[in-house]
């Protein structure tokens, strides 16, 4: 859903009260973004890729990024597509323009994201995430839907020592607090 040009209502972001820890390992709320949950059959992936301007990944645990858009493979017919910027770049409209059968649902506000950046980022996440986050097993660009403590997250490795943690907004307080704990422990 495209945002209207100048809403009279202001946004209150999840984690709006949170101040990131200023340390070599930072845990900070990410900026608002446009997000869609995209579902489509394999024969329609090419057309949707063309419409979105990126190659929708088809291998598990992979992502693809281009032009401020990132597509996360979540399942054989499921992607989380994120577009930079609060206004969004018209992900829904782009999908419609593909002309092929698909389901695109706006989840821009369902999720929020937390960035974990710096030395020990993987260890901080491993406080609650049982995955092997070594570069060998989870290289830059790898993504997965997984668990973090008691909540579900979508984890994307954005750099050797940086991750994006996508989480539903009502779980974001918990996820942030556990990441902060993990980050603290990663320094010992």
């Amino acid at each position: 859903m495209a945002e209207m040009s100048s809403p009279a209502a202001a946004r209150t972001l999840a984690l709006s009260g949170v101040r990131g820890r200023a340390a070599s390992l930072a845990v900070t709320p990410a900026a608002p973004a446009e997000r869609i949950s995209l579902r489509a059959r394999s024969e329609d992936v090419a057309a949707l890729s063309a419409a979105l301007g990126l190659e929708l990944p088809t291998r598990p645990k992979t992502s693809a990024a281009n032009n401020g858009r990132t597509a996360h493979w979540l399942g054989p017919d499921e992607w989380l597509v994120i577009g930079e910027g609060e206004k969004g770049s018209g992900l829904m409209a782009a999908c419609v323009a593909s002309g092929v059968l698909h389901s695109a649902v706006d989840v821009s506000h369902r999720n929020t994201a937390i960035l974990v950046e710096g030395a020990g980022a993987a260890a901080a996440i491993n406080a609650g995430c049982p995955l092997d986050l070594s570069l060998k097993a989870f290289p830059v660009g790898a993504c997965t839907r997984t668990i973090f403590g008691k909540v579900e997250i979508v984890l994307l490795r954005t750099g050797e020592e940086s991750f994006r943690v996508e989480v539903w907004r009502s779980f974001s307080d918990y996820a942030y607090a556990l990441l902060a704990e993990g980050a603290l422990d990663a320094t010992f």
Binding site: P7, A9, S108, C129, F171, Y174, A177
Partner: protein, 996 residues
């Protein structure tokens, strides 16, 4: 007191030997034991520090309250369990003195004694011991039955258990870390370090774990082993430094591998700061490591056994290897005149080391006729008396051993020898705990009289002493090969070891009544095990439970083999036929704090809050938990209790309007050309007839025909539906739908997406609802004509893209404003400000419950319970008669689901309007019928209805609808309430208000 103070006046202990051990006096710390102050050196354990000051008596035994000392120098310690405190909250009972390092200011106390350690009233149990045989509890506290709860159990509970848990909340932090590796090596002695060198050389990711502060394992005491020409312990430290510098190796010391689970999953407890004088506020006390290892190398070593003889438990009696550790590592002599009682060559080396350090050796008493020749020759060379074929058959000394009584085997000639310590060895038990936990199968090795790893269940290998590999060169080869790479390690040991025995020694045989302890921690003697066999326990599992042998927190690390051998002898069966009890995790006790790790306080469980939560809290909302959600329950004004707040809210909604946070309702977006067809199959209603822009209340049943969930579904477009579910039902309804879509209806072109959290939902209900929201809605005519009840539209609210529903769970004119979640607070604030100015109120879930009950709207899970069909709930109209298929259609045709007399949902009105029924109360036709009465059903919902001016209730009653007009009864504890059966609509029966 400074931890780094220097000074010659420091008393490091009369038994601290100059020039012995590896600790330096550069850093010392002070601690108290039972109120008395002592000085320790950096690196001391509580045990070594106490022994340095000549303190052997540290505790009282569990059952007989016998004085007990320090038996070992490691985690197998069964006796020296102490209470260690930093402050009143940071106090831990049952800490093994041999594991806990001294920190400055530690307050350490003995346990299980009153009034003092030296004079303990409970020791009367020792004199009364003939009355406390094994199985005492089972035999004595049988009758009368009532006495269990009131008399026996409280007394036993008070007497049972060691130590007292602190009452304060634990202020320490605990951490958790998941990790993966190619090879995990448990134990960093000679075998583990060698295996690590070999594995690391292949480039594998290696985690090397050892429970001690420093690597080295047995090299802590084993000074006659040289590696690569160096002292073994020094080689171990150099090797660890070399390994730690490699990027693919992580060494965790002070860390215990406590559990080996399926698929290479291991639990590790790291003691991060228990040894620190002043740990940082944020430093975790302990860290739980949950490691997934591709391969596991077990290099867990072996544990020395004690000798089982009469009065073998006096303070001052300890394992020979422990005495050697205290001497060679801590520089502490365990006595000045030490006796040795052994069945194994290894104890000789303890005698050699002590002798060379200036301690006199009273004698080496060896129950074997023929000890190893090398050690015998060395003993002679050192001038130590060796009595082969002799045994220690008794000891004296109340709080510390004074003498040992020695006899030639099979001979009555005894002599008493004065000693101030007696060190013992019955040989070594391989530590196969982790192997066994991994479901590996052990085999009995007759030649060496021990259980050894045989069949592996996982990708795991045992090396070194835990595998029964005694020779150092073989051990090194085995470790290198296990590591999978190469390493150059040349180890030599001066003496080969032989010998060992299991079971009761001379003078403690079946013909005696002496107390020869097998299990120190649970006070189990050889005689107790024999009694268990005589009383008919023939399986080791039964013997264990009858005697509690091996059931203490040390899990029988010292006692299991002795107990087994004594039982086997009594049963006259070979040991493997008597069996071995199962080793279970944890290997050593693990604190709850470590297992809980981060999951406390706000991290115990996620508290889900709606976007408007803080605004509601600022309005004074009380919240209730609905699943993980915090929902506004009611909004009390100053001076209002819950009932008056709810009454006011109920009245105001119907008189003016109310604003309600409905964000937690589950939402699922169903998209695709076959969306309507899919919903036709999942719900009992028909959906293909629903026009875009319209909503319908839907019922979902399971295959068995019972109500599963309900909710309003809006059709946004031909191929797009906005489904709502109950708050608690959201995840399971999505799973239920996804399950059917993937398994039963995979041909349908439709996809499901959870949008519960995408939308903040602001419900405005009441006669003035339209007037309240009107100014905020853009691009949509919301007049009654253009936007009637059960309409849905996409529009803008305050410039924000919104989905507006006209629907009602109150029976009033109502709207539900859905805006993207981040805009919820702003839109809520604007709507609420306007609503307030018009006399409306905020209301919570309690008022919502009352208002819907006034209208007879059900809550799935409250008015239904998984055995209620749509028709039972009075919702038969929502089951399509035309559809040929939907989930539950066949279930609904089962004879029992269509028979007369099923429980049906009806209304109940109490004869006295002020009586509010209790939810869950049973309903009967004849309150005077003798018990058990015929119960017709139960009350599902009951409230005071301010709007009706009386109580209202709903109930499931057998044949309910045919009983309308009848009087039934609700028997309560103190009275019986007469009720009239009615229909379920109590307010606005014509239903005109929702169309307002």
């Amino acid at each position: 007191m400074s931890g780094s103070s220097h000074g010659s006046a420091k008393n490091l202990g009369a038994f601290r030997l100059k020039g012995a051990g590896r600790l330096t006096p550069a850093r010392t710390s002070r601690f108290t034991f039972d109120g008395k102050s002592y000085t320790a050196m950096e690196g001391d354990t509580v045990a070594s520090a106490l022994l340095a000051h000549g303190v052997h008596l540290v505790g009282r035994s569990f059952k007989y309250h016998r004085p007990r000392g320090i038996l070992s120098a490691g985690p197998e310690e069964p006796n020296a369990l102490l209470d260690v405190a930093r402050d009143s909250a940071r106090r831990q009972p049952n800490v093994r003195a041999t594991v806990q390092e001294v920190f400055d200011g530690a307050k350490i106390s003995s346990q299980n004694r009153w009034p003092s350690l030296a004079f303990d009233v409970g020791s009367v149990n020792n004199l009364l011991s003939p009355f406390f045989p094994a199985g005492f509890y089972y035999k004595t506290f049988k009758w009368p039955r009532e006495a269990w709860e009131k008399v026996y159990e409280p007394i036993i509970r008070r007497a049972a258990g060691l130590g007292v848990a602190p009452k304060e909340e634990d202020p320490d932090r605990y951490a958790n870390r998941f990790a993966h590796c190619d090879v995990l090596i448990a134990g960093a002695g000679l075998a583990g370090l060698t295996a690590a060198l070999s594995a690391a050389a292949t480039g594998a990711e290696v985690i090397l774990v050892d429970e001690q502060p420093q690597v080295g394992g047995a090299l802590h005491f084993e000074t006659s082993t040289t590696v690569d020409g160096k002292n073994g312990f020094d080689w171990a430290q150099e090797t660890a430094a070399k390994l730690a510098a490699m990027p693919n190796v992580r060494i965790l010391t002070r860390t215990t591998v406590f559990g080996y689970y399926n698929h290479g999953f291991l639990g590790l407890a790291e003691r991060v700061s228990d040894h620190l004088d002043r740990p940082g506020r944020e430093t975790p006390r302990e860290r739980l490591w949950q490691v997934r290892a591709k391969r596991v190398i077990l290099a867990t070593g072996a544990i020395e056994r004690h000798m089982v003889f009469a009065n073998n438990d006096r303070p001052g009696i300890m394992l020979a290897s422990a005495a050697r550790t205290f001497l060679n590592h801590y520089g502490v002599a365990v006595g000045r005149n030490v006796g040795v009682y052994t069945a194994h060559d290894s104890a000789y080396e303890a005698a050699f080391d002590l002798k060379r350090a200036g301690v006199s050796i009273a004698a080496i008493v060896d129950c074997r006729e023929q000890p190893g020749e090398a050690v015998l020759a060395e003993a002679r060379a050192l001038g130590i008396t060796v009595l082969t074929g002799h045994s220690v058959i008794d000891t004296t000394g109340r709080l510390r051993i004074k003498s040992m009584t020695v006899a030639r085997n099979g001979n009555m000639d005894i002599r008493k020898m004065a000693v101030d310590a007696l060190i013992v060895s019955a040989g070594w038990t391989p530590s196969v705990h982790l192997f066994s936990q991994s479901r590996g199968k052990l085999r009995w090795d007759e030649a060496s009289q021990r259980f050894l790893p045989d069949i592996y269940a996982q990708d795991c290998v045992s090396v070194g002493a835990c595998n029964g590999t005694d020779e150092t060169d073989l051990l090194v080869d085995e470790a290198i090969s296990a590591g999978g790479g190469a390493a150059s390690v040349n180890a030599e040991r001066r003496f080969g070891w032989s010998g060992g025995m299991i079971g009761a020694a001379e003078g403690a045989g079946p013909d005696t009544r002496v107390k020869a302890f097998v299990d120190f921690q649970h006070d189990v003697t050889a005689k107790d095990i024999r009694l268990a066999v005589r009383e008919g326990m023939h399986s080791i599992e039964h013997i264990k439970r009858f005697t509690t042998n091996g059931m203490a927190s040390d899990q029988g690390k010292l006692s299991n083999m002795h107990g087994l051998a004594i039982a086997a002898e009594m049963l006259d069966r070979p040991i493997p036929q008597v069996g071995l009890t199962t080793f279970r995790a944890p290997y050593t006790p693990v604190t709850y704090g470590t297992l809980v790790a981060h999951s406390r306080g706000e991290l115990f469980d996620p508290a889900r809050k709606t976007p408007m939560h803080d605004l509601e809290a600022a309005e004074g909302a009380e919240f209730e938990d609905v699943g993980n959600w915090k929902r506004a329950w009611y909004f009390p004004k100053r001076g209002e209790d819950m009932a008056s707040a709810v009454n006011r809210e109920c009245r105001t909604v119907r008189d003016v309007a109310g604003v309600f946070d409905a964000s937690t309702l589950g939402k699922i977006e169903v998209v695709g050309p076959d969306a309507a067809q899919f919903l036709n199959l999942l719900y009992t209603n028909a959906w293909d007839t629903l026009k875009p822009g319209r909503c319908r209340y839907g019922i979902m049943t399971r295959e068995d025909g019972f109500v599963y969930d309900d909710g309003v579904v809006g059709r946004l477009a031909e191929d797009r539906f906005h489904v709502t579910t109950t708050t608690g039902g959201a995840p399971r309804v999505l799973h239920h739908m996804e399950d059917y879509l993937q398994t039963e209806f995979p041909h349908l072109k439709v996809w499901l997406t959870s949008t519960t959290e995408q939308w903040a939902v602001i419900a405005v209900q009441g006669p003035k609802a339209r007037e309240i929201i009107q100014p905020f809605v853009e691009g949509l005519d919301i007049s009654n004509e253009a936007f009637p009840h059960m309409s849905v539209a996409e529009c803008a609210v305050m410039g924000v893209p919104a989905r507006l529903f006209r629907m009602s769970f109150t029976g009033e004119l109502g709207f539900e404003v859905n805006v993207p979640a981040d805009y919820g607070p702003a839109v809520w604030t604007a709507i609420w400000e306007r609503a307030k100015s018009m006399g409306a109120c905020l209301y919570g879930t309690e008022t919502m419950h009352v208002l819907r009950a006034e209208k007879g709207y059900i809550i799935v899970g409250q008015d239904t319970d998984g055995t209620v069909t749509p028709d039972d709930a009075g919702l038969g109209w929502a089951v399509s008669k035309k559809k040929t298929d939907f989930v539950g259609i066949r279930g609904l045709k089962r004879p029992d689901l269509v028979r007369d007399g099923r429980k049906q949902l009806v209304g109940l009105l109490t004869n006295r309007p002020s009586d509010v029924l209790e939810e869950g109360a049973q309903i009967v036709a004849d309150p005077n019928q003798p018990k058990p009465m015929t119960m017709l059903g139960h009350v599902t919902s009951a409230y005071w209805s301010e709007n009706c001016g009386r109580s209202i209730a709903m109930a499931l009653v057998a044949g309910g609808r045919s009983r309308i007009g009848q009087t039934l009864y609700v028997p309560m504890k103190d009275r019986t309430i007469a009720v009239e059966v009615t229909d379920t609509v109590f307010f606005d029966k014509e239903g005109g208000r929702i169309h307002g």
